[in-house]
Amino acid sequence: MEATSSISWKAEAKRTLQFLRSELRPRGKIWTPFNVISGAIILAGAIILAFRFFYGLGAVTNLNQDYPWGIWKAFNVVTGVAFAGGAYVLVFLVYVLHQEQYRPIVRVTILNGFLAYVFYAGALLLELGRPWNVINPVIGNSFGFSSVLFLVAWHFMLYMIAQFVEFSPAIAEWLGWKRIHRVLHGMTLGAVVFGISLSILHQSGLGALFLMAKDKIHPLWYSEFIPIQFLVSSVFAGLAMVIFEGTLSRSVFKTRVSPSYHFSHERIVLSLSRICAGAMFVYLFLQTLIFVHGQDWKHLSGFWGAWYGVEIVGFVAVPCVLFTLAYRRRNTSLARWAAVGAMLGIVLNRLNVSLIAYKIGAPVRYVPTWMELVVALSVILAEVWVFRWIVNRLPVLGEAPAWTHEAEEASKEVIPHARPAAVQPIERSVASKEA
């Protein structure tokens, strides 16, 4: 018994290794304009980072004693994590509310979220002054329980694990590990529930980071409700990103996209628009309550009042209306424009809280150096490279292999009157076509 199982394990390991070796080879043309330009930027970013680690943050950044956090924190971490919020909203829709119509995009969204956290937590490390001590709050020799950042850091780590578990069935499918797949698949709901709870806490926690900076942030952007504002806005930030990224992916990865994804894409964009519009309305209502409650009328005059108006009207209210119109008129290109507007609004909001409306009276305002911008961009481009590598190999946008399909079909037999009748026939017809 034992001998045979060890032989099969050996064969399995050998097969996996060979498969991995073949998968590691690059696919497609290497010298494309995108590859050349993004590769050059990433290389430049790496060189700048070498300088940063040898000579200190001051050598490449414009950080000063008034602005201890720069664009890497404000844009890559605080803004980027809001955009990664799509993952927790979508798994909530699919795994908790059983809204099967979103199933085709759930995997790519989880992957996006996972990579966003990996790279943005990485960006956090780049900007730590003493990164070798990052282990202190992890291994427990120094737990600062009273720190919001402690909570955020731990929730980042735990959420990355949860997201990896959520995504892991795709890896098992890629490697053809059937038994492991079954185990991983069974862990999904647990990871989802845990992941949503963690997301609620760290999305709001990113806002709570600024609670003690009460005297430094302009009153139009500071309130004791920043955590709630950050949480609510992460819902539509994430979904807008899903719409935006889905549109790009569909054209870039044409060959990898499953027919079911293709067919359902328009409908998914429109229903997400509707959720975005709702979330943005809630957010506007919250902003209004905070504004009135804080008696902020006196701040509305002058530049900062106008700037606040630009953010709230131009990049929240207008996209909210556009999302509503897009849904009502079944207009997906309008939805995409609305998504772009909403995303700009989120960038604006997060940068306002953490940099632009932060310490407006400082003698030297912080403006990022070109080197900071290059590194910020390299982080995003590196993420895109990894995303592309995975999407081109793993069943992310496409169908899962037939053997998982059979298992799922079998499980569906158990549920005779499954609700999402609209989707299933398409999936079935696709499956039959492929067969």
Binding site: F53, Y55, G56, L57, G58, L63, Q65, P68, W69, Y95, V96, L97, H98, L124, L128, G129, R130, P131, N133, N136, P137, F143, G144, S146, S147, V148, L149, F150, L151, R182, H185, G186, V192, V193, F194, I196, S197, I200, L201, G205, A208, L209, F210, L211, M212, A213, K214, D215, K216, E224, P227, A407, E408, S411, K412, V414, I415, H417, A418, R419
Partner: protein, 312 residues
């Protein structure tokens, strides 16, 4: 100028050699006794004093800006004691990673101000409940039981959240170093632990600085205001700002004209994040069961098996 504190200090240092074994905890004990005014036999018993009680009345410094002549000896002595470049040139407006303690030069047309000039010593305020220490996720910044808020090199990971949180902007980072430290006044914690005064207080020839237990400093400050109501502004800066600080200031003109932030919270800064942190266990314990319940309740056709998709 040192009031009753000096006499008890003297008696302490006299009794010091008697209990050398208790050196590490000696300060706590000494401080406790100084506060209570008890000497002698109860040493061993009172040694069990909880740290919290010490925190209630930490060491601090009273700065009487009407006495300061702006000689900047304290700046130089501070730099020497902390291994930093001795400051040259004119008066600074803010502390920096190179200079933990500064003398500011303010001109004033307030008739109460002598010669129209006020010199203000600025450094870390050593809050009773410091924002920086509560912000620190590695407890690198920490409020020692005797009052000094100190930074510990082996713990800090350089996130600079302390700098974002501090209402006085006192923690400064060494941005030009590959191994940056967080620099701020440490109230000469090592010296204080040995029963000595901070170097700035010791070097002050103008009696502008008074070192002692905070409760006594507050009393002394009130006494000075009461004795010379026409000299001082009737406000002790630091008594309630940011929930109370160990450094306290007296001045002859309004504090906002001397560069002190006037709109600071009267509550402690860590309390600003308290509600959020209280919400964490609530969310972590209540949201997962709620989500599981929703997931089960909305499961199509109530499949009898557990798990996603039923079982395989």
């Amino acid at each position: 100028m040192l009031f009753d504190d000096s006499s008890s200090r003297a008696s302490d240092s006299a009794s010091g050699p008697v209990k050398p074994a208790a050196e590490s905890h000696g300060v706590d004990r000494r401080g406790f006794f100084r506060t209570l005014g008890v000497v002698g036999a109860g040493v061993a018993l009172a040694g069990e004093t909880p740290a919290a009680e010490q925190l209630d009345d930490p060491f601090g410094v009273l700065v009487d800006t009407t006495q300061c002549v702006g000689c900047r000896t304290c700046e130089k002595e501070c730099a020497k004691a902390h291994g930093l470049p001795v400051p040259e040139g004119g008066y600074r407006t803010t502390t920096s990673d190179q200079q933990l303690s500064i003398i500011q030069h303010h001109e004033s047309d307030d008739p109460r101000v002598d010669m129209g000039v006020v010199f203000v010593k600025r450094q870390c305020m050593h809050c009773l409940q410091p924002a920086c220490a509560s912000a620190c996720l590695t407890k690198a910044l920490y409020k020692s039981p005797d009052g000094p808020v100190v930074w510990r090199q082996s713990k800090c990971m350089g996130c600079r959240y302390c700098m974002v949180s501090c209402p006085f902007d006192m923690p400064k980072a060494e941005f030009d170093s590959a191994t940056p430290r967080i620099m701020k006044c440490d109230l000469c914690a090592d010296r204080v632990a040995e029963g000595k005064q901070p170097v700035c207080v010791e070097s002050c020839g103008a009696s502008a600085l008074t070192f002692g237990r905070r409760s006594q400093l507050v009393e002394e400050a009130h006494k000075r205001i009461a004795e010379s109501p026409d000299v001082y502004v009737h406000h002790i800066y630091g008594e309630r700002e940011a929930g109370g600080t160990s450094w306290l200031y007296l001045a002859a003109t309004e504090f906002d004209k001397l560069g002190f932030a006037q709109d600071l919270e009267r509550v402690t800064y860590p309390s600003l994040t308290k509600e959020f942190l209280y919400g964490v266990p609530v969310v972590l314990t209540l949201v997962p069961p709620l989500l599981l319940a929703i997931s089960n309740a909305t499961r199509p056709a109530f499949a009898p098996q557990g798990g996603e998709h039923g079982s395989h």
